[in-house]
Amino acid sequence: MFRKVLIANRGEIALRVINACKEMGIRTVAVYSTADRNSLHVRFADEAICIGPPRSAESYLNVPAVISAAEIADVDAIHPGYGLLSENANFAEVCRASNIKFIGPPPEVTRMMGEKSTARQTMKKAKVPILPGSDGVIGSVDEALEWAKSVGYPVILKAVAGGGGRGMRICRSPQELPDLYNQASTEALNAFGNGDLYMEKFIERPRHIEFQVLADEHGNVLSLNERECSIQRRHQKLIEEAPSLKITQQQREEMGKVIRKSLKDIGYWNAGTIEFLMDEDGKIYFIEMNTRIQVEHPVTEMITGIDLVKAQLRIAGGEKLTDIIPQPIVINGHAIECRINAEHPEKFTPSAGKITAFNLPGGNGVRVDTAQYAEGVVPPYYDSLIGKLIVHGKDREEAMNKMQRALDQFIVQGIHTTIPLHKKIFEDEEFRAGNFDTKFMERFFEREKAKAE
C-alpha cells in the first residue's frame, strides 16, 4: 500500500480522502490556496503545502504547482477527489510521467469518456443501451417520419450546428412532425447558416439514474448498483438516494452484467459512475460516464457497507477486487444525501462569509461529511458545497423521517444555506411518494409559489 498520498482537492472531499488514508495508515499531504489556510483539510492532514493564491486556476488547477508539491513532499500517489483536476487526462499523464500514481482510471480512458460522442459510440459498441439517435443528418420530412416511427414518439429535432435551444423542436406525433421539421430547419438556417437536423428519442419526464462501478487493474469489474439523482436544479443535483425505487432487481442484475463487460472491454479501472436517463416505461439509456469518485458516493457506501475511497486507494495500490470487496454485494436499507450548499435557499445566490454558529446533527444512522466548523469561513472562490448530510434507514420512509429530524438539528448561522429548501422538499407529497423526475424542482417551485400567493 502507499506510504504517502497527496490530496489535490479541498473542502469535504479532501477531508474524506484524508480520513480514508489515516484509517489505512497512509501519510497525507494537503495542498491549499492562501484562501484555505485555516481549512480543516489543512488542519487534519499530516503535512500541508500552500500552492498558490485563491483563484483555482492559480492553485488547485495549477498542474505544475500540484506536481511540485507532490515531488517536494515525496508522495507515492495523488488522489484528485471530484471536480478540479479529477477528470483532467493531461494531469493524469503528467502524474504518470512524474512517476506518481494517479488514483483514477488511465488517462486514455478518461479522455475517451470525456468526449461525449466517443463515449456514446464506445458504450453502444459494448452493448450498453444508449438514447436512440439518428447518428447523422435526417435529410427530409419522410426520413424523419420513418426514423420517429422506428423509435416511437416523442422525438426531438436538433440542429447539427445548434446550441442554446435554437433549431430544436420536441415532436409528439406524426401529424405535427412535418411543420416542426420545417420550422426547425429554417430556424437553424437563419441562426447558424446551416439547416441540417438530426433526431433523438425524447423523454418527457426522465429520471436520473446512475450506476457506481469499481474496477481493478487486473480486468475485474463490479457494479455496486444504482443511485437515484433526479432531484436537480439546473442540472445540479440536490438530493441523491439509493437504491432507486424504480430499478427492479432484474434490471439491476442485467445492468451489472452489461457494465462489467463494457468496462472490461474499455480497459477501465478504479471508481467510476455511469449515468443514465430512465424513461416513463422504466427503460434506461446511457448519457455519460464520470471517471472519478462522485459527490454522492456516500449513499452507496451506506447501503453496501463498502468504503469507496478506501477501495480506490487499494485498487490504485494494485490489489484485486476479490480481495477488497466481500461478495456478493447486498443492499441493506435505504440511504439519502442532501447537499448543503452555501447558497440562498430560494434565490440560489452564493453566500460566502463567516459561519457564526454551526451545529451538526448526530445519532443513529446520521452521517455528516463536511470540512466546515463553527467560526469557519466560506471563501467566495470555490463551489458552494459546504457539507453533505447522509442518513441511513431500514427503508425509504425511515430514512426520510431521519433526514427531517437531522435537518432540524443542522444549524448554520452567518451564511445562507440550502437547509431550509431541503426541509420543504422533504415535506413535499410528490417527493415523499417517490414519483418524481428531473423536472421535479420546477414543479416544486411552482407549488411553493402558489402556496405563497
Binding site: R43, E47, A48, I49, G52, P64, A73, A374, E375
Partner: protein, 165 residues
C-alpha cells in the same frame, strides 16, 4: 511629561484596557487627554473559537516541508517571524526547491550585503525540472537569505529580506 505623569498615564491606560474602553477624552483647564486604542477591540478578543488558530499548527506552517529537506534548515518559527520595520520580503511565487546559484558549485546570485535592483535575479526555484529565476520586486540591500540552498519552499514563503532604499 514628568515621571509621575507617565506613571499616572500608565495606570490610566491599564485601567482603560481592563475595562475594554476604546476611546477616552478628558479636558480640564489646560489639560487635554485623548486616548484611542488601535484596531481589533483592544486587547482581549482572542477569537478563540477559531479552530485553526487554536490547535498546534504544525501542518500549516512549512514545518513538514522543512522536515522533508535533507539540509538542516531554519526553524519554521524563525521563518514565520514578522518582517521587521522597513524590510521587504521577496516571496516565492511558486512551489518548488530553492537554489541560490544557477548550478551546483557556481557562485550565488546574490549574497547578504549586496545591493539589488528591481528585476534582478535573486535565486532559482525549481519546479517540475524547470529552473524558475526569481527576480527582486524591490531595489535595496539584501539583509538576509531566509531559506537554505536546496530547501523546498511553498507558495508565498519568504526567500530574502531586502531593505529598500
Amino acid at each position: 511629561m514628568e515621571a509621575n505623569e507617565l506613571k499616572d498615564l500608565r495606570e490610566l491606560v491599564e485601567f482603560l484596557k481592563d475595562n475594554k474602553i476604546a476611546e477616552f477624552d478628558l479636558e480640564r483647564g489646560d489639560l487635554k487627554v485623548r486616548i484611542k486604542f488601535t484596531g481589533p477591540p483592544v486587547p482581549a478578543a482572542i477569537d478563540y473559537t477559531q479552530l485553526a488558530t487554536l490547535i498546534p499548527q504544525q501542518t500549516i506552517a512549512p514545518a513538514p516541508l522543512a522536515a522533508a529537506a535533507a539540509a538542516p534548515v531554519s526553524t519554521p518559527a524563525a521563518e514565520a517571524q514578522a518582517p521587521a520595520e522597513n524590510v521587504h520580503e521577496v516571496k516565492s511565487p511558486i512551489v518548488g526547491t530553492f537554489y541560490e546559484s544557477s548550478a551546483p558549485g557556481a557562485a550565488a546570485f546574490v549574497k547578504v550585503g549586496d545591493q539589488v535592483e528591481v528585476g534582478q535575479v535573486l535565486c532559482i526555484v525549481e519546479a517540475m525540472k524547470l529552473m524558475n529565476e526569481i527576480e527582486s520586486d524591490v531595489a535595496g540591500e539584501v539583509i538576509r537569505r531566509i531559506v537554505n540552498n536546496g530547501q523546498p519552499v511553498e507558495y508565498g514563503q519568504p526567500l530574502f529580506a531586502v531593505k529598500p532604499r
